[in-house]
C-alpha cells in the first residue's frame, strides 16, 4: 500500500511538472516549391558556407540540377574552365553528384576529387566553347542542352557520362528570329512537359524567349500571344522606378536592366493545372551613378502550355554577391537552389563558386555526413 501511494505521488508530481507542448499547426504547409530560399549556413556544408562547389581555377558556374531520388540526391552539371597545355582555358561542362544535395564529389572541402568533364567543344559551330548546361532525364536517357557561340546544342547519354552530340545546333538565331532576339540564344533551360513536348526557354537580348519541340531535337519559337502577328518574348525586364517615388522601405524592382539564365520547372498542381515555373537572374543598375550592376534570383510563372510569364516582385534569393544562373533540385517537401556567385568579398573581380540555398527556409538541414564517392 505504501509503495502504491509513493508511485501515485511520484506520477502526480511528474505530471504536474510537465510543460505544455510547443504550439503547432504549421507543419508541412503547402508551397509552390520555388522559394523563398535561405542560403546554407556553416553547419550544413563541409566547405565555406554557402558554397558547395568551388575552385578558383576551374571557375564552376551555371549549374543545372537533376534530383535523382526523393531523398536529396542530386546530379549537378556545371560549366567550368579546363586548363590547357598552352596555358589557356577551354570552357567545358562537368558533372558531379551529392547524396544529400550538398556534399558533392570534388566539392568544396573534398580536395582529393574533381568533377568529371563530360562535354568539350568539338564542333566547328561551337567555336571553342560549351557552357550553360541544362540537363534533364527523359526515360533512361540524359539530355544535355548547352550554349555555345553557334546556338544551342544537344548531347545525349545513356549513362550520364559519355554523351553523343547532335551534329548541328537544335536552336539558333536565324532569319525568322524576331527583332528582340538581338543575340544568339543562350542560357538554355529545357523541360519535358506532361504532354510529351519539350519546352526551351532561352535568353537573348536581355529578355526571355520560348521555343517548343515534339522530339527535343528541332525547336520552333513559341508565341506567347497568338492574337498578335509578332512573336513576343515571354518576359522582359521590369519597368524602372525612381526609388525616391517609392514609400519608405519599399525597394525598387530588382530586374529593371535585363533578365536571363532561366530555369524552367513545370509541375501539375493539385487543381490539375499545368504550372510553368521559371527561376531567372534579374539585373538592375545601382550606385550613385548607376555604374554598378546588382543581381538577384527571381520567380515568374504562368498556367498553361504557352503565354507570358508573370513575375513575383520579391526575389526568391538575394545575397548581394552577384548571384545568378539559378538551378533547382526539387523533392517532395523541400527544394535546393544552386547559383553561382562571388566567392570573395574583397577581391575584384571575385572568383565564383556554386552556392546553395534551401527552402522552406524555416527548416535546418542535418549535418552533412560524407561526400559522394562518385561523380
Amino acid at each position: 500500500m505504501r509503495a502504491f501511494v509513493i508511485v501515485i505521488m511520484a506520477v502526480s508530481i511528474f505530471a504536474c511538472a510537465t510543460l505544455a507542448s510547443e504550439g503547432e499547426g504549421d507543419r508541412d504547409l503547402p508551397t509552390a516549391g520555388i522559394g523563398p530560399f535561405r542560403k546554407l549556413v556553416q553547419s550544413e556544408v563541409f566547405g565555406v558556407a554557402p558554397f558547395v562547389l568551388q575552385d578558383n581555377q576551374l571557375a564552376y558556374r551555371e549549374p543545372s540540377a537533376i534530383a535523382t531520388d526523393g531523398n536529396a540526391g542530386v546530379i549537378l552539371f556545371v560549366g567550368a574552365d579546363e586548363a590547357m597545355k598552352d596555358g589557356g582555358k577551354t570552357p567545358v561542362i562537368a558533372r558531379t553528384r551529392a547524396n544529400d544535395g550538398r556534399s558533392f564529389y570534388g566539392g568544396a572541402g573534398d580536395f582529393t576529387h574533381t568533377p568529371t568533364i563530360v562535354l568539350r567543344p568539338t564542333e566547328p559551330w561551337e567555336k571553342g566553347s560549351v557552357g550553360s548546361p541544362s540537363a534533364l532525364a527523359v526515360g533512361d536517357t540524359t539530355y544535355l542542352y548547352y550554349a555555345c557561340e553557334g546556338g544551342i546544342g544537344l548531347a545525349r547519354s545513356k549513362d550520364g557520362f559519355a554523351f553523343t552530340k547532335e551534329p548541328l545546333p537544335v536552336f539558333a538565331r536565324d532569319a525568322s528570329a524576331p527583332p528582340w532576339e538581338t543575340t544568339q540564344p543562350k542560357a538554355p533551360s529545357v523541360a519535358h512537359f506532361p504532354d510529351g513536348t519539350f519546352h526551351l526557354i532561352y535568353e537573348s537580348g536581355g529578355v526571355l524567349g520560348e521555343a517548343v519541340s515534339q522530339d527535343g531535337l528541332s525547336f520552333r519559337r513559341l508565341d506567347p500571344d497568338p492574337s498578335t502577328p509578332d512573336v513576343e518574348p515571354i518576359m522582359g525586364p521590369s519597368l524602372d522606378v525612381d526609388p525616391a517615388s517609392l514609400p519608405k522601405g519599399v525597394l525598387p524592382p530588382f530586374d529593371t536592366l535585363r533578365v536571363g539564365h532561366p530555369c524552367i520547372v513545370p509541375r501539375v498542381t493539385v487543381a490539375g493545372r499545368l504550372h510553368v515555373r521559371v527561376l531567372y537572374s534579374g539585373y538592375r543598375r545601382s550606385g550613385a551613378d548607376g555604374s554598378n550592376v546588382t543581381s538577384a534570383v527571381g520567380f515568374a510563372a504562368r498556367y498553361g502550355e504557352y503565354g507570358f510569364l508573370i513575375r513575383n516582385s520579391t526575389p526568391v534569393f538575394s545575397a548581394d554577391r552577384h548571384e545568378e544562373a539559378p538551378a533547382l533540385a526539387e523533392w517532395e517537401r523541400a527544394s535546393m537552389l544552386y547559383v553561382h556567385e562571388d566567392y570573395s568579398t574583397t577581391t575584384t573581380p571575385s572568383p565564383i563558386g556554386i552556392a546553395a540555398a534551401f527552402s522552406p527556409p524555416s527548416l535546418t538541414l542535418p549535418d552533412p555526413v560524407a561526400f559522394s564517392d562518385s561523380p
Binding site: G35, K248, T269, V270, A271
Partner: protein, 443 residues
C-alpha cells in the same frame, strides 16, 4: 435564504474578472449539450445554459454542479499533409444555484473551460502563411462566464452575464553597446514592461414557454476583440563605429469573437422524446484577422569613412498592407433530439443525437492571403444516465453524460489567381473528432 443567494450571485457576478474566449462556440460546452449539437438554447437548464442561454439557469430545479473533460483532435490537412493543429482539451465545469428573492425566482451560474495545455495562446502570423483560421489559435484559451437569471412570469425567463477579456500591451527596450566584431563583449540592457488590460462583453438571453411542451429562446452574445500590442525599441552604440536606432510597433487582434444572435426552439414531442432546433446568426463580416500591423523605424547612419568591407547596413522593412479578409455573415442551423429510452423510478437512460452545418464564412483564398477554412458538417451522439437517489446521505439526481462528435470538412481546392504566388494551388481537407464525458449532481 433567497437574500443570501442573491448576495452570492451578485458577488460572483462582479468577482468574475479573469478571462476568456470561446472554445464552446466551436466545440460546445458540456457533454449533454454537445451531443445535441448545441441545439439547446430553449432547452438547457443545467450548467451548460451559462453558455447557451443564461436565461435557462433559472429553470434549474435545484443546485447543480458539473465537471467534465473533453478533447478535440484536429486532422486538418493541406495537400494531404496533416498540419498538426493542436488539440483543444480541458475541463468543463460550473454550477447553477436557483433560489428566490421574495417571490421572484432567481438563479446564478458560473461556467468554466480550463484548458490543460495552455491558458491562452498568442499568435500573429503573416497573412500569406496558410493557417486554419478558425481552429488554429482561437480556441486555445480559457473561458469563464458568470450569469444571473430571473423568472418574472411563469412563462418568461430572462438572464444575462458579463465576461472580461484581457488584452496585452507590452514594451521591450534594449540599450547598450553592440560589438559586431566580438559579440561576446557586447553590453546590452533589457527592460520589459507588459500590461494586461480588461475588455468586457455581455451576453443576454430570453426563454419563453409558449406551451407546456414547447419553449422558444433568443440569445445575444456580444463581440469582443482581444488585442495584442507590442513595442520594441533598440538603441545603442555599434562597435564605436556608429549608432543604431530601431523601433518596432506591432498591433494585432489576436482573437475575435463575432456577435451572435441565436433563435431556438424546444418541443417535447412525447413524454420521452424532445426535439430541439437552433439557428445562429454569426456576424463574421466584422471579423478582424490576427495579422500584425507593423511600423518600423530604423536609423543606422554609416560610420565616417563608410562601412567596412563585407558589412552593409540593413534597410527599413516595407510597411505591411493588411488585406481585407472579406468574411461573410453566416446562419448556422443545429438540430438535436433526446430520447428517454429506458426509465424507471431510479434510473433514466437517455439517447441523444444532433447535427450542425457551419458553412465557412471565409471566401475562397485565391489571392495573397491563406486563411483556410471549409464547410463543416458535424454529427454528434451521446448517452446519458440519470440516477435518482434518495438516501440519508444524498438526495437528488446524479448524471453521467458522454458525447462523441464527428465533424467532416468538405474538401476543397484553392486555385491561386497569380501563378507566381509562393504558395500556389492547394487542397484543404480534414475532420475533427470531439469526445468527452461529464458528471453532474443535482440536490
Amino acid at each position: 435564504m433567497g437574500r443570501r443567494i442573491a448576495l452570492l450571485g451578485a458577488a460572483t457576478f462582479f468577482w468574475t474578472s479573469a478571462a476568456f474566449a470561446n472554445p464552446p462556440d466551436t466545440f460546445g460546452f458540456g457533454s449533454r449539450s454537445t451531443a445535441l449539437a448545441g441545439a439547446v438554447s430553449a432547452d438547457a437548464t443545467d450548467v451548460s445554459a451559462n453558455y447557451y442561454n443564461p436565461a435557462g439557469i433559472v429553470g434549474a430545479k435545484s443546485f447543480s454542479a458539473m465537471v467534465g473533460y473533453f478533447r478535440v483532435d484536429h486532422h486538418l490537412a493541406l495537400n494531404g499533409q496533416d498540419t498538426h493543429v493542436d488539440p483543444v482539451r480541458g475541463i468543463n465545469a460550473g454550477f447553477v444555484i436557483p433560489g428566490r428573492i421574495r417571490s421572484l425566482p432567481v438563479a446564478i451560474g458560473l461556467a468554466l473551460h480550463l484548458p490543460d495545455d495552455r491558458i491562452s495562446r498568442v499568435r500573429a502570423l503573416r497573412q500569406e502563411q496558410p493557417r486554419w483560421e478558425l481552429y488554429d489559435n482561437r480556441n486555445q484559451r480559457l473561458y469563464l462566464a458568470a450569469n444571473v437569471a430571473i423568472r418574472p412570469f411563469s412563462w418568461l425567463e430572462i438572464g444575462g452575464g458579463v465576461s472580461f477579456m484581457s488584452s496585452t500591451r507590452g514594451r521591450l527596450d534594449i540599450t547598450g553597446k553592440a560589438e559586431i566584431f566580438s559579440p561576446q563583449n557586447s553590453s546590452l540592457r533589457h527592460e520589459v514592461d507588459a500590461d494586461l488590460t480588461a475588455i468586457r462583453y455581455p451576453q443576454v438571453g430570453v426563454r419563453v414557454h409558449v406551451h407546456p411542451r414547447a419553449s422558444l429562446a433568443v440569445v445575444y452574445r456580444a463581440e469582443f476583440q482581444l488585442g495584442l500590442d507590442l513595442d520594441a525599441r533598440l538603441y545603442g552604440d555599434v562597435s564605436a563605429l556608429t549608432t543604431a536606432y530601431y523601433q518596432l510597433a506591432t498591433s494585432s487582434v489576436n482573437a475575435f469573437l463575432p456577435r451572435q444572435l441565436v433563435f431556438g426552439g424546444s418541443w417535447r414531442v412525447r413524454d420521452d422524446v424532445r426535439v430541439n432546433a437552433d439557428l445562429t446568426w454569426v456576424n463574421w463580416s466584422a471579423y478582424v484577422p490576427p495579422v500584425a500591423q507593423l511600423n518600423v523605424d530604423l536609423n543606422i547612419p554609416p560610420p565616417a569613412g563608410g562601412w567596412p568591407a563585407g558589412i552593409s547596413a540593413p534597410t527599413t522593412p516595407a510597411p505591411i498592407t493588411i488585406l481585407p479578409i472579406g468574411m461573410r455573415d453566416r446562419l448556422v442551423p443545429r438540430l438535436g433530439f433526446e430520447w428517454n429510452a429506458f426509465s424507471t423510478e431510479r434510473i433514466d437512460l437517455l439517447v441523444r443525437g444532433g447535427y450542425e452545418y457551419a458553412k465557412s464564412p471565409i471566401p475562397r483564398q485565391t489571392g495573397t492571403t491563406n486563411y483556410v477554412d471549409l464547410d463543416r458538417h458535424s454529427m454528434s451522439a451521446g448517452l446519458g444516465v440519470q440516477w435518482h437517489v434518495k438516501s440519508h446521505i444524498y438526495s437528488g439526481t446524479l448524471s453521467f453524460d458522454t458525447h462523441l462528435q464527428w465533424s467532416e470538412l468538405v474538401s476543397q481546392v484553392f486555385e491561386k489567381n497569380n501563378p507566381a504566388d509562393f504558395i500556389g494551388d492547394y487542397r484543404a481537407s480534414g475532420h475533427i473528432l470531439n469526445y468527452g464525458a461529464s458528471i453532474a449532481a443535482q440536490f
